[in-house]
Subunit: 435 residues, 2 copies
C-alpha cells in the first residue's frame, strides 16, 4: 500500500472548485446548467445553452413542452435516456431519499420489517399464479445463458408469497408485515409524463400476512391509517378513492390520488400525466374511481359527486388468499389439524412518481415550491461572496434545518432567481449590514 493518507479534509483547486467540510454546498452538486434569464408573462422560460445538446433534445420532447417552468424543473430532477427510462439526477435523488425516509418511518409505525427482493424473477412462480400469460406485453421478459425464462418484476406478490410459504408455517408467526423500496419494471405501451408513467420506476411495496380474514381487515385499516398519515406528512392535498383492484386481484382496494382541482396549473399536467378519473363528493369527501362506479350520487351521503382528473400515487389492496393458495402459503391454526391459506394484502406507493408529481403540482410562476417535507434542502443560504459568514449561518442552523450553501461563482441576483426556480422553502441571504 503505497498511498499517502490524510485524515484531514482537503480542497482540490482547479477550474471547478471542490470543497469538503461539514457544510453542504451547491458547488459540489451536479446540476445540469441552464440559463433562466428570459422572463415571459411572469413565467421563467429556460433558454438552454446552445451547446447543451441534451437540453435541446429534452426540450423537444412532448412530455416537457407544456410549460417552460417544467423544463427547468425536470432537467434538474431527471434526465430521459430513452422512451420511459430515466436517470435520477442529484436534486431529484435528494427528494426521492426524503420520501424514502418518510416511508421508513411510516412502515416502522406499522411494525413492518424492511427487506429487498430480487429484480429478476423466474417464470416458474408467475406461471403458477397465471400472471406469466395475463401480464402480456407489459412484462419485460428475458432468458439467461441457459435459456431459463425470467421477468423483471413489475410487482412482487409471487416472490414474497413464495418466501413466506417457505418460512411461515404457524398462525403464531402472524401477523407479519414486510416492505421494500425498489425498482420495478413495466413495458408501458405509451410511456409519458416523465416518471409519472415510466417503464422503470421506484416503488414502495408493503405486503401483509394474517391468519384470518378478520385480522386481515384490522391490518388493512391500520395500513390505511398509516398511508393517510404519510400523505398528510408530505403535505400535498390528496383524496382516498374506492377502487377496482385490476390485474392484482382481491376484493378491497383504495387509491390515493392527487387531484387536478386542488392546485392551480395542475390542469396542464393532467393533460399529459393524469390517467385516472375519480368522482369526488365535496360534502363528505367520499371518492370513488370511475372504473368502480360511474353513478354521480355519493354512496355515503347521497350528494352529487363531480368527476376530476387525478394521478394515482398510492394504492392499498386486500388480496385475500389468491396468491397464498396458488403458491402454497398455508399456516396451521390453534387446532394443528387445520391448515388455512394466509390472508394477504399488498400496498404500494409510487416513489419516483411522487417526485415528479409533487414537482409538477407545487409550483408557482417563478419555479417550484417544494413542501418542507421533501424539499431537496429546506433552506438555501445565499452569499454574495462572504463565504465565511455563510458557513457560520450553516453551523447555527444545522440542528434545526437541512440547509445548503449556494457558494457557486455567480451573482447574488442569479442565485436568488435560481433559489426561486428550485423552490427551497426558505432562503437566507448572508451579507453585511449597512451603517
Amino acid at each position: 500500500m503505497r498511498l499517502r493518507i490524510s485524515t484531514r479534509c482537503y480542497t482540490v483547486t482547479s477550474k471547478r472548485k471542490l470543497t469538503t467540510g461539514l457544510q453542504n454546498r451547491l458547488s459540489n452538486v451536479f446540476i445540469p446548467p441552464y440559463i433562466a434569464s428570459r422572463v415571459d408573462g411572469g413565467m421563467v422560460i429556460p433558454f438552454f445553452q446552445a451547446e447543451s445538446r441534451l437540453g435541446t433534445r429534452i426540450a423537444s420532447q412532448t412530455w416537457v413542452s407544456a410549460s417552460g417552468t417544467r423544463n427547468v424543473i425536470r432537467k434538474q430532477l431527471i434526465v430521459l435516456t430513452t422512451s420511459g427510462i430515466y436517470h435520477v439526477l442529484p436534486l431529484g435523488l435528494r427528494v426521492q431519499e426524503k420520501i424514502e425516509r418518510i416511508i421508513n418511518i411510516t412502515m416502522a409505525s406499522l411494525c413492518a420489517s424492511k427487506l429487498s427482493l430480487s429484480t429478476l424473477s423466474s417464470s416458474k412462480l408467475w406461471k403458477q399464479t397465471g400472471r406469466w400469460e395475463k401480464y402480456g406485453q407489459e412484462l419485460f421478459r428475458l432468458t439467461d445463458r441457459k435459456s431459463s425464462e425470467f421477468c423483471l418484476c413489475p410487482t412482487h406478490e409471487e416472490e414474497i408469497t413464495n418466501l413466506i410459504a417457505n418460512e411461515i408455517l404457524s398462525y403464531r408467526q402472524l401477523p407479519l408485515r414486510l416492505y421494500q423500496i425498489g425498482r420495478k419494471f413495466r413495458d408501458e405501451k405509451r410511456p409519458r409524463g416523465g416518471l409519472l408513467r415510466g417503464r422503470e420506476f421506484l416503488m414502495n411495496d408493503l405486503y401483509t400476512f394474517d391468519a384470518s380474514e378478520a385480522a386481515a381487515m384490522q391490518t388493512y385499516d391500520a395500513v390505511q391509517a398509516a398511508y393517510y398519515r404519510l400523505f398528510k406528512t408530505i403535505g400535498v392535498p390528496f383524496v382516498v378513492a374506492e377502487a377496482e383492484s385490476g390485474n392484482i386481484g382481491g376484493d378491497k382496494s383504495h387509491e390515493y390520488h392527487y387531484l387536478s382541482s386542488s392546485i392551480p396549473e395542475f390542469g396542464a399536467l393532467l393533460t399529459i400525466g393524469g390517467e385516472d378519473k375519480v368522482l369526488v363528493c365535496e360534502r363528505c369527501n367520499y371518492a370513488v374511481n370511475t372504473e368502480r362506479s360511474s353513478s354521480p350520487q355519493c354512496l355515503q351521503c347521497g350528494s352529487q359527486m363531480h368527476e376530476k382528473s387525478a394521478i394515482e400515487v398510492g394504492h392499498t389492496f386486500h388480496l385475500g388468499t389468491r396468491y397464498s393458495e396458488a403458491l402454497g402459503a398455508f399456516v396451521t391454526a390453534e387446532d394443528p389439524s387445520i391448515r388455512s391459506a394466509i390472508q394477504m394484502g399488498c400496498h404500494g406507493i409510487g416513489v419516483s412518481r411522487l417526485v415528479v408529481a409533487i414537482a409538477d403540482i407545487c409550483r408557482g410562476s417563478r419555479g417550484l415550491c417544494w413542501p418542507v417535507s421533501v424539499a431537496p434542502w429546506e433552506t438555501v443560504i445565499v452569499t454574495a461572496g462572504q463565504e465565511e459568514g455563510a458557513e457560520q449561518v450553516w453551523d447555527l442552523l444545522k440542528d434545526y434545518t437541512d440547509s445548503v450553501i449556494d457558494d457557486r461563482q455567480k451573482t447574488l441576483g442569479w442565485k436568488l432567481k435560481d433559489a426561486e426556480a428550485v423552490g427551497y422553502p426558505v432562503t437566507v441571504i448572508v451579507g453585511h449590514s449597512k451603517g
Copy 2:
C-alpha cells in the same frame, strides 16, 4: 375519507405481538426461524425445523454446506431464489445500509455528487463502445414490445459518459465526480458463494471526469486515499493490489482484497468464494494480482512475495479517454479552439459482496462477530421478561449506540445463544440485582 385516524402509536395484539414505539425491537423484525440447539465440537450446528422447507432447500445447496455456522448466518442475511439470485433479508439489509452510509460519507469527502442511473440501457451506446459484442453471454439482453434491444447494466460507463457528453462542455465544469449505489446484473457462468458472485448484486460506482491526464492522476490518488479510509472504517484487514483492468479498459488499476490468511477459517470460504490470486510482500505490503505479474519478487523492495487467495471487494480504474472518445464527451480548453476528450476514471465497491464477505470473515466458533462499523445493531439488550427495564436501558443508550431490544418470547439462554450467533458487538443483559 372514512378513516379513523390516530396519531398515537398503537399495539396490535394477536398471536404474534407487534409493538410500536421509539425503541427497536427484534420481535418486529422478520428473521427466518431456526433452532441452534445442537453443539458439535464448539460449532453451532443449525437444526432446521423439519417443516421449514426453504431451510432444508438452502441447507442442501453447495454454497452453504461448507460450514454449519454459515448456514445460520446466510439464512438470516440472504435467501436464494434461483441460481445466483437472492433476496436480502432484514438483518442483511441493515448491514447493507450501514455500508451504504459509510460509502455516502466517503463520497462526500471526495465532493462526489450522488445520482441514480437507469438499469435498462439501450444497445445503441454499447454498440458505439464495442461492448455489446465484447461482453458476450455475461450481458443480460432483452427486447421491449417494439423489439428495441436493451441490456441490464453490469456497469454504467456508457450511460454516464453519454450523460456527461451532453452536459459538460467546458473545462470550467471539471473536475466532476458522480456516484451511485445501485443494482447491477451479470449472467455469470457459474454463480456461487452467495452474493460473492451473484447474477444480481449491489454496487457502488464512482465516475470521475477531468480535463487533463495530470488532473485525472490527482483525482485517482484522491480516490485511492478515500477508498483506503473506507476500508479502514469497515475494519476488516485488506490489501491493495496492482491489477489488470480487464474488460473495462484503461491503464491504471488497483484492487482492494480481503485475504485468506488474515483471518482463521477464511480458507474454507475461499474454496468456494475466493476468485483471485494476489502476490503479497510481507515486508513492504506491496501487492499485485497474479494476472498482472507472476514474478515472486516484490517490485517495490525486492523481497520474496507469497501467493494468497483473495476476494475482491473494491476496484479503482483510470480509464483515460476510451469511453469519452467513443461517445463524444469532449470539453473546450482555455483556448476555446481546442477540444479534448474528457479523462475518466471508474471506481467500484461490491456492496452486497461486502455483506457476505464480512459475515464469512468475521466469525468465531459460536457465530458471527460483526465489526461495530457495519453490525446490524451495535448493541442487543437482552431481557428475561423485564421489558420495562430494557426500554429504560435503550433510552439511556440511544445517543451513544445503535441498539435493539430482544423482546421475543424466548428464554434468556436462547436469547444469549442467538446474540452470539448473530454476532452483535455488545450484549447488555437486563435483570434484577440479587440481594
